[in-house]
Each structure stands twice: as structure tokens, then as C-alpha cells.
């Protein structure tokens, strides 16, 4: 069982997790033609994840969770992350890192946006 980046990452894409992942298994969808039909977020390749969990405290948006702890509302995100293993084309380690962090107020507001209280 791997870790999963949930939709709480969408449009936040801080990237702090990328710098600590020992396996380089946190990826963005960057197809050659430049147009991705996937949400703008990062994904964990479950086939490569070694379940070290070091990415979890790094994410300022609290977007990363153990696959077994993903809230029911976000279960579709497990399959979304798995795409990065099934469709290796177009997925790569992000080049840019936003790394702006987030305040607790912003984190709470983002959770509310996605239906978490």
C-alpha cells in the first residue's frame, strides 16, 4: 500500500514533497504536446513508492495520505495516482517547485473547497 496525493494538491502544487522523496516517485503529468487532461496536481507512482512516508509532513496543504486513510470523498484520487504507473508516458519529476507554503487558514479553506470539514 502506497501513499496518495489527494485533490487537496490541486492548483496548490507546492512541490516540497518532491525534494525529499528518496525514490523520485512524485510526478507531474507533462505530456510532450503540453496539454494534460488531468488535474493540475502531483501524483505518486504506487509501483515506485517505498512507503517511507517522508512526503506526508512536507506537504503544507496536508494533501498526502496513506492509501488506507484516504477519505471516502477522495477515493477516486487513488486511481488517479495509479495512472502515473500505468501510463508512464508524460509523467515526470516536476522541474519547478512553488514552495510557498500555506497558512492554517488557507489549508482549512482548501479543505472546505473540497468538501472536508
Amino acid at each position: 500500500m502506497a501513499f496518495v496525493i489527494t485533490r487537496l494538491c490541486q492548483d496548490c502544487v507546492d512541490g516540497a514533497c518532491v525534494d525529499v522523496c528518496p525514490k523520485d516517485c512524485i510526478l507531474e503529468h507533462r505530456p510532450a504536446d503540453g496539454t494534460s487532461e488531468l488535474p493540475r496536481q502531483l501524483f505518486i507512482d504506487p509501483e515506485e513508492c517505498i512507503s517511507c512516508g517522508i512526503c506526508v509532513p512536507e506537504c503544507p496543504w496536508e494533501a498526502i495520505t496513506d492509501e488506507g486513510d484516504v477519505p471516502p470523498e477522495f477515493h477516486a484520487d487513488i486511481a488517479l495516482n495509479a495512472l502515473s504507473a500505468e501510463r508512464s508516458r508524460g509523467f515526470d519529476v516536476p522541474v519547478e517547485r512553488l514552495r510557498r507554503g500555506a497558512t492554517q487558514e488557507e489549508v482549512d479553506k482548501n479543505k472546505q473547497r473540497w468538501g472536508l470539514t
Binding site: 500500500m1 525529499v20 528518496p22 509501483e47 517511507c52 512516508g53 517522508i54 512536507e58
Partner: protein
């Protein structure tokens, strides 16, 4: 030779009876095999040795890492949670293993830290500890 021993030998020979197996190989390999004086023994020994070994690419998992090197899974290996500085050390180590064309980084928890072995197939390239004071790295074959 005692009767018991002779009987054992008969049983042993029955078990060791050979079965013919036919398979295709590349032409150059076929030429090399034909030149061998003991083809059956050679092929049988090579197969037995290969089957005894864990696959160096997948480590017996059946899946080959698309990112070059197989690293122990923390849950499967019951490893302790990583501290940030140890994670960064491990990240550097995996990068080094990739550059050295290693096939595996095996980890195990040891004395509050993480012991590692970087290998290329069955050849150990580097071993040591992460996250322990006075951590030491041992490179087999390197001159001290």
C-alpha cells in the same frame, strides 16, 4: 558397499534420470554450446544457479522498477519512520546507486538507524548505515 547403500544409489539414479528439453537459442550461442564437451552438464548447472538466485532486477517481486533501482519497501521491511535528514541521505544514496547502474538498495533497521546495501546483481557495491552518529560506509573492493 552395504546393501543399504546400493539401494540408496538405485533410488538416487532413478531421481536423477534425465528428461530431454528442447529450446531455441541465438545462432552464435548455439555454436558456442556445440563446442562445449559437456553441454548437458553445463546448461543444467547454469540453470540451477540462475534459479537459485533472486532476480537482481526485481528482487523477486516480479516487477522491474522503471526508475532504475529497486529500493526496499518500508512496510514490507518493517523499517522505522524516516527522519527528514535520513530521507535526504537516502535520496542521495539512491541517486548514487542509479549513477553506478546498481540494481538494488536493500535497507534494514539497525540500532535506531537504517543499514543499507547497494548492489549490482549479486555484487555488493556499497554498504553502511544512514542516520546513526559516526555512520560508516564500506565500499567492498575499495582501497583504504
Amino acid at each position: 558397499m552395504s546393501e543399504h547403500c546400493a539401494s540408496t544409489n538405485v533410488q538416487h539414479n532413478a531421481v536423477q534420470m534425465k528428461t530431454r528439453v528442447t529450446f531455441r537459442v541465438a545462432a552464435d550461442l548455439a555454436d558456442t554450446l556445440r563446442d562445449l564437451p559437456n553441454q548437458t552438464q553445463f546448461v543444467e548447472q547454469a540453470l540451477r544457479e540462475a534459479l537459485r538466485q533472486r532476480c537482481p532486477s526485481c528482487g523477486g517481486t516480479g516487477r522491474v522498477s522503471s526508475r532504475g533501482v529497486r529500493v526496499s519497501n518500508f512496510r514490507a521491511a518493517a523499517l522505522p519512520p524516516l527522519r527528514r535528514e535520513v530521507a535526504l541521505q537516502l535520496r542521495s544514496l539512491v541517486g548514487l546507486a542509479r549513477r553506478a547502474a546498481a540494481t538494488s538498495v536493500d535497507l534494514r533497521g539497525e540500532h535506531g538507524g537504517v543499514a543499507f546495501v547497494v548492489a549490482k546483481g549479486s555484487e555488493v557495491l556499497l554498504q553502511g548505515n544512514l542516520g546513526t552518529p559516526g555512520a560508516r560506509v564500506f565500499a567492498p573492493g575499495a582501497r583504504s
